[in-house]
């Protein structure tokens, strides 16, 4: 089946990201396709490229990147939720006249319409909330 996940919890604040990653690797192992993870609400903080967790804790940012590298899963971040929270890619940073950026590929800022498309286009959408 084709799956998508909706992640709405900030990393390290709630278990949502941990649960979603655990679910993601399991569903892929069962032969399903994970098309995309969409980040909304505080879930957008998962895309913060500078995350520097302690070495004895899971590195969630790297885990998302691995998911993309190994399974081609898209990492889509709601742009409206991200901008107000300080998560800008190079293009948005330039557009807002800011020096530096906080989001980079494979995470991509995208409209909320992508979530709606996913919800209708995949077989299962599973939400992990804080």
């Amino acid at each position: 089946m084709r799956y998508a996940l909706l992640v709405e919890g900030a990393p390290y604040s709630s278990q949502a990201s941990h649960s979603a990653l655990r679910f993601a690797t399991t569903l892929v192992a069962r032969g399903h396709q994970l098309v995309s993870v969409f980040f909304y609400h505080d879930g957008v903080y998962n895309a913060a490229r500078l995350a520097a967790p302690p070495q004895d804790e899971p590195h969630l940012y790297d885990a998302w990147r691995s998911l993309h590298a190994e399974h081609g899963t898209e990492l889509q971040v709601c742009i409206a939720a991200a901008l107000r929270r300080g998560l800008l890619d190079e293009r948005e940073a330039e557009r807002h006249g800011k020096s530096g950026h906080s989001v980079e590929p494979p995470f991509e800022l995208t409209g909320l319409g992508q979530l709606i498309d996913l919800g209708q286009g995949v077989d299962r959408l599973v939400t992990f909330a804080p």
Binding site: M1, Y3, Q15, A16, S19, R22, F23, T26, L27, R30, H32, R124, L125, V126, T127, F128, A129, P130
Partner: protein, 96 residues
């Protein structure tokens, strides 16, 4: 059949009430994360009306040291079983 997913415990959050209000007669409810506290024998009465359709995630029970206190009426599944439940359902709805 819809799979409902609840991550809040009935001991501090009333989210379970909204979930139960939305469940049809053959829907299932899976307790995950802090929600697994609702599977304890001391708490499971909150889910009496859906006995036989109440599931709890084994890994989240174990992490909390609660696997031994999970009520016998609760159907315990691992993450593989969680994915399986989403396969069997028409869709999933998360409550938090």
């Amino acid at each position: 059949m819809i799979l409902h997913i609840l991550n809040r415990p009935p001991s501090s959050s009333l989210a379970y009430r909204d979930a139960l209000a939305a469940m049809a007669g053959n829907d299932r409810l899976l307790l995950i994360e802090d929600g697994v506290m609702g599977a304890l024998t001391s708490q499971v009465r909150h889910f009496q009306e859906i006995e036989g359709r109440l599931f709890a995630l084994r890994e989240d029970l174990s992490a909390r040291g609660l696997e031994g206190q999970c009520d016998a009426s609760v159907l315990v599944v691992d993450v593989d079983g969680f994915v399986s439940l989403t396969e069997e359902a028409d869709k999933t709805v998360s409550w938090f």
